[in-house]
């Protein structure tokens, strides 16, 4: 009995010893030899190198963290969980020192767990900062979050997402918070030694947006030059950030009352950044790489193809439309005969559905082409569909970053009339604050005259809600000045009457009875307000492509849109971007 037990133990020992052999081969470390030759090491070492998950390839090694990890005897996950709970408790009970100490401990245990760095940095910068009433304290905590991320980057120097968050918090949090004026000022004046590189920056670079941009660019550099991954982050947003920072910087300069050369340079740079962003090759979830600026050339090609198709049998499209029109019911014809702005909701619906039936897609057109050239026509449709599909993808992706809008904004804001208008509005606002009303009025009017030039040059901006916000604010200020000067309405020659009228319709400014007359006296081409005051809604609907454009007036772009095999879609839909095309208005 004893003997068999002894033999059994011996067998176990031999098996263990034998198993150690492959284990040792498998886990051999990579070592540097006498002649600086680096051995590949065992399979585990090779895998670590391949996936860049060895401690040394992840970033700086922290001896403290390594010691704690060892001390937890493999229970660091449990320990981190407990500490996480402790941190939440500390946050709830407003024990900020305790929270910071606990966060330090968690990151020592889990230095390569990116979510910890990102989540807790956000927690500190966004949630804890607002627990304090004094903006100096708030700024301190926003900065603590940024410092936390920078510490995280030391241990994870291949992680662009950490740098991205540094850029985001520096730019967005400091630049858009309610305390942004104070934050930006404190940031410029900050001499904190713990804030890396900040003291070394020249004064003109100590702007939160420019520093944010710096970190976004570092993050992009990691992706482009070191092949780092942005994981599930949207590449469009990721790559757009440096340009957006430049735009935000330019906007912030105007808010700070800085115009002239510096403002012009900032917007010119912004235009440059945005153009480069448009030319960047960006992967999409559709499995193809795109360039956002490709959209217009693609649409030109689609239009050219559509024209070629129409040219095969020039009268065919009109003929098909007439055939279809003849098949419409009397109700549908009646609805379409009513002028668009006078249609009832039911007539609008009927007319819209009828219009869809009247639309002729490229495929339908090609199928009706005579036998001799039908193959040529179908080939053209095939080409158009491919081009249109790519354009559609780009169009959708452009919407994500509002590409077209920002491109236009960059182009217009750098013009002299726009810069002048912004400067004058700033001055007028200041005069208004000083209750120098006649001067404020004069300055506002001068500003609006300049902005009129901008709107004329870039008509799409007139109705824009975002870019127009500051203009609308100015009109509101002007409106108040007029009220205080006992002026009953906007002057007849008010340069931005169309914008003001839109604001009244949206109730952005009140509509006193005497203004209704002014609104009614709009230049030709501007839709009038109907008896319900809802005329603009109709106009808006028009811009959204919900009502009928007469077939003869369809643009080439829309026609090209018809190339889609999903012929039941409204013709405008495929070509739609966030900003309706000018020709659709």
């Amino acid at each position: 009995m004893n003997r068999s037990s002894f033999v059994r133990k011996l067998v176990y020992i031999v098996i263990i010893a034998l198993l150690l052999v492959p284990l040792s081969i498998y886990s051999q470390p990579s070592v540097v030899g006498a002649n600086n030759e680096v051995s590949e090491g065992g399979k585990l070492a090779q895998l670590r190198k391949e996936y860049q998950i060895s401690e040394s390839s992840l970033g700086e090694i922290d001896p403290t963290g390594e010691t704690i990890k060892l001390a937890t005897l493999g229970l660091r996950g449990v320990a981190a969980n407990l500490l996480w709970h402790k941190a939440e408790q500390a946050k709830m009970k407003e024990d900020w020192d305790g929270l910071q100490a606990t966060l330090d401990q968690i990151t020592k245990l889990e230095p390569h767990f990116i979510t910890v760095w990102r989540y807790q940095a956000w927690n500190v910068s966004y949630n804890i900062s607002v627990e304090w009433d004094d903006y100096h304290d708030r700024y301190f905590w926003v900065k603590e979050g940024i410092k936390f991320l920078l510490r995280g980057f030391r241990y994870n120097d291949h992680e662009p997402r950490v740098l991205y968050d540094v850029g985001w918090t520096t730019g967005q949090k400091m630049g858009t918070a309610d305390e942004k004026v104070q934050y930006r000022r404190l940031f410029r004046e900050d001499d904190d030694e713990e804030f890396p590189d900040h003291r070394l920056r020249p004064q003109n670079r100590r702007d939160n947006w420019l520093v944010g941009q710096e970190y976004f660019e570092k993050a992009i550099h990691l992706v482009e030059d070191r092949g780092a991954s942005i994981r599930r982050q949207n590449p469009l947003v990721f790559f757009s950030e440096p340009a957006m920072c430049q735009i935000d910087y330019a906007i912030a300069l105007a808010e700070d009352g800085i115009f002239e050369e510096k403002g012009k340079v900032a917007w010119t740079d912004a235009d440059g950044y945005w153009t480069r962003f448009g030319q960047r090759s960006i992967p999409t979830t559709f499995g193809i790489e795109i360039r956002l600026s490709e959209y217009e050339p693609l649409m030109e090609q689609v239009t050219a193809v559509a024209k070629k198709l129409d040219d095969i049998e020039p009268d065919l499209r009109q003929k098909i439309i007439e055939e279809r029109r003849a098949k419409l019911t009397q109700d549908e014809r009646d609805a379409m005969d009513v002028p668009q702005q006078k249609r009832t909701p039911e007539q609008m619906r009927v007319a819209f559905e009828a219009q869809i039936r009247l639309n002729v897609s490229m495929k339908e057109l090609a199928d009706r082409v005579g036998q001799a050239r039908r193959e040529e026509a179908q080939k053209l449709v095939e080409d158009a569909v491919k081009l249109q599909e790519r354009a559609n993808i780009i169009g959708r992706e452009r919407d994500v970053v509002n590409f077209k809008y920002w491109r236009m904004r960059c182009q217009l804001e750098k013009t002299d009339p726009a810069l002048n208008a912004r400067r004058l509005i700033y001055e007028a606002d200041e005069l208004y604050k000083l209750t120098q009303l006649p001067e404020a009025r004069r300055t506002y009017e001068e500003a609006f005259a300049n902005w009129r030039k901008v709107v004329d040059q870039f008509p799409e901006m007139a109705d824009d809600a975002i870019g127009g916000t500051s203009i609308e604010d100015a009109i509101r200020g002007y409106f108040d000045v007029l009220k205080q000067l006992d002026e009953p309405s906007f002057p007849k020659d008010f340069a931005l009457m169309d914008v003001a009228r839109n604001m009244m319709i949206r109730n952005a400014i009140p509509i006193p009875p005497e203004f209704m007359e002014t609104i009614g006296q709009q230049p030709a081409g501007q839709p009038a307000v109907d008896e319900n005051g809802e005329g603009e809604k109709g106009a808006g609907a028009n811009a959204e492509g919900e009502t009928q454009p007469v077939p003869e007036e369809k643009t080439d772009e829309e026609k090209a849109g018809d190339a889609s095999t999903e012929s039941d879609k409204p013709a405008e839909a495929p070509a739609k971007e966030s900003d309706p095309p000018a020709d659709a208005k």
């Binding site: 709830m92 900020w96 020192d97 910071q100 100490a101 330090d104 009433d133 309610d178 004026v181 713990e194």
Partner: protein, 607 residues
């Protein structure tokens, strides 16, 4: 400092505290209940085996025996057995705990960041926590394994064959191990204090280049002296303002200041920055009783809840008669010969941003409780959050042109004073809790306060030793260690066990929680009604609530015995709190020891 469950004065706590009938009566009632229950269960069990008459006889004999043991316990024999326990502890290399402690201190600097806003708090709480964990671990191991090892090795016979009583064996072991722990704690305490003081000791440098002439004062009036900032040491620097002689006290940073003096050497002025001062504090506060006025000026039990998860503070609405009133007692001129320092920490809640550059204003009004209609406006202030904002109440001050004498007009004859705080800005709120406003009596001695913190650890150690020895009287070593660990863990999470026992814990009892984990339901989501959930909820109610409730109310309240918070935050541990803790420990120690005697008596070896 946050005090979530502030204690009333000792006698009030012991015999009567408002709606609470007093700790002593509760203890007495619980003890009686436990004894009656124990006797009843013993009698029922014995009756089954021996019949009711015999069972009664046996229980009576056991009680007589126990009383006899207790009455004839000899301190001399207890001392002798304690000495044996000490020798055994030394044999079992108890010094290892101390070595581990020293190693922890040696490397503590790696884990502690001295750049925090108050590093003294961090370091003090670290050493106190590390000490208590280590000492409790040591007490646990010593107490849980000693008796079982003796019984297993039969060395216990060398003791029980001597003329010693069971009570003496149990008491001797407990006191012996406690003595070892006490010795270790003393050494650890000295080392810890030395470690904290030495680690946080630092100075800065200041040279002529760091200083500029002082900026002009209000109205452009030139001010003598210089101002500037020191070099960075331990991740902070100080702003300094020096008088014309080059002397000054730096602005506080990280909770301390430095004295700066100028020395002229070879015609050149050098500045000497002294060591960190006021780093360690032991403020002696006088806390008051807090009451509220609502927005109509009517007395209210609480202020407004602004939606915080943590309900520690109540809020008062600005621009209305709402106010928070603290009534301080025992305010004597002898304690405040130079006037009263009123320390405040006020939270702010804004319902609209208002002027970001400006803080929210409030007012401090003083009232004589005997004549509450007469109010004296001390001053208006801007709230400072998470920091102590000190306001001086001078012995004499002016209100509406008339001179007010603090102790003649405001403080009542029996030493009571009302301090009323209101928020002046409409639709903004001030948040307060009772300990947020106090009268600063004096600065205590930090090292004595530190020692008091160690007394609390000592009490925990003695309790764990007693519990360990008691478990070890009838369980073997590893099991009694687990039982003691369970007692410790339960003791630290007593409040949570109580919530589970009363069925008010978020996420429900053990079965419901398990179900939520497995089905990935969060803590608050409504559970669907099915047979499974109904069965689980009922099993929680029937199987767990009762035992958990009993456990919560019979385990030692180790968490409330800890005074780390006081020491770390720089507040003197009041004598009342210390005596309450000692009483609590004694109140627990006695029944645990009696249980130990009973269990040990039941064992064959002790007979």
């Amino acid at each position: 400092m946050v005090l979530e469950n502030p204690y009333p004065p000792y006698l009030e706590w012991l015999f009567s505290a408002g709606y609470n009938p007093g700790a002593f009566w509760i203890w007495l009632l619980t003890m009686t209940g436990v004894i009656v229950f124990g006797l009843l269960v013993s009698w029922i069990l014995s009756s089954v085996r021996y019949g009711p008459m015999k069972a009664g006889d046996l229980i009576f004999k056991a009680l007589v025996n126990l009383t006899d043991d207790l009455a004839h316990t000899s301190p001399r024999r207890v001392f002798a057995l304690s000495r044996l326990a000490v020798q055994e502890s030394i044999r079992r290399r108890v010094i290892a705990a101390f070595i581990v402690f020293v190693v922890i201190l040696l490397f503590a600097g790696w884990f502690l960041n001295p750049g925090k806003t108050d590093p003294a708090e961090l370091y003090l709480s670290f050493v106190l926590t590390a000490t208590s964990y280590l000492i409790l671990l040591m007490a646990l191991i010593l107490s849980a394994f000693s008796l079982p090892a003796d019984i297993q090795n039969r060395t216990i016979h060398t003791i029980v064959t001597k003329p010693v009583r069971t009570t003496e064996i149990i008491l001797g072991r407990t006191l012996g191990f406690a003595a070892v722990g006490t010795g270790l704690l003393l050494v650890m305490g000295v080392f810890s204090y030395g470690f904290v003081v030495r680690t946080l000791d630092h100075t800065h440098e200041l040279s002529e280049d760091d200083l500029d002439p002082r900026s002009a004062g209000p109205g452009g009036v030139a001010r003598p002296g210089k101002e500037g900032q020191t070099t960075v040491t331990r991740e902070h620097r100080h702003q300094v303002v020096l008088d014309e002689n080059g002397h000054g006290i730096s602005e506080p940073a990280q909770g301390h200041v430095h004295e700066v003096t100028a020395v002229t050497r070879d015609g050149k002025t050098e500045y000497r920055v002294g060591p960190a001062a006021n780093q360690f504090k032991a403020r002696v506060p006088v806390y008051g009783k807090l009451s509220f006025l609502d927005r109509s000026g009517r007395p209210a039990e609480k202020g407004i809840n602004v939606g915080n998860e943590w309900l520690y503070r109540s809020y008062i609405e600005g621009g209305t008669p709402a106010a928070a009133i603290w009534r301080f007692s025992g305010v004597r001129p002898d304690d405040f010969p130079d006037g009263i320092n009123l320390d405040m920490t006020i939270r702010v809640f804004r319902t609209y941003k208002g002027d970001v550059e400006k803080g929210i204003s409030g007012s401090i009004t003083l009232r004589n409780p005997k004549n509450p209609k007469v109010k004296y406006l001390l001053r208006n202030f801007v709230a400072k959050e998470f920091a102590i904002d000190r306001h001086k109440i001078p012995l004499k001050f002016k209100d509406k042109g008339a001179e007010v004498d603090l102790f003649r007009d405001v403080v009542s004859d029996d030493g009571e004073l009302d301090v009323e705080i209101g928020c002046l800005e409409r639709a903004q709120f001030f948040g307060v809790a009772k300990p947020d406003v106090y009268l600063f009596k004096r600065e205590g001695t930090p090292w004595i306060n530190f020692a008091k913190g160690y007394v609390a650890i000592w009490l925990q150690m003695v309790l764990i030793t007693a519990v360990g020895v008691t478990w070890s009287t009838f369980l073997n070593g590893p099991v009694s260690m687990l039982a003691t660990i369970a007692t410790m863990v339960g003791g630290y999470f007593r409040e949570f066990l109580d919530e589970l026992g009363r069925g008010i814990a978020l996420g429900g009892g053990p079965m419901e929680s398990l179900y939520r984990i497995l089905t990935q339901n969060n803590l608050t989501s409504e559970l669907e009604r099915s047979i499974t959930t109904v069965v689980l909820l009922w099993s929680d109610k029937l199987l767990f609530r009762g035992p958990l409730y009993i456990a919560a109310h019979t385990l030692p309240d180790l968490e409330s015995l800890s005074d780390v918070n006081y020491v770390a935050k720089g507040y003197n541990i009041p004598l009342d709190v210390l005596t309450i803790h000692v009483t609590m420990a004694v109140g627990y120690f006695i029944p645990v020891m009696i249980l130990g005697f009973l269990f040990f008596k039941m064992r064959e070896v002790a007979k």
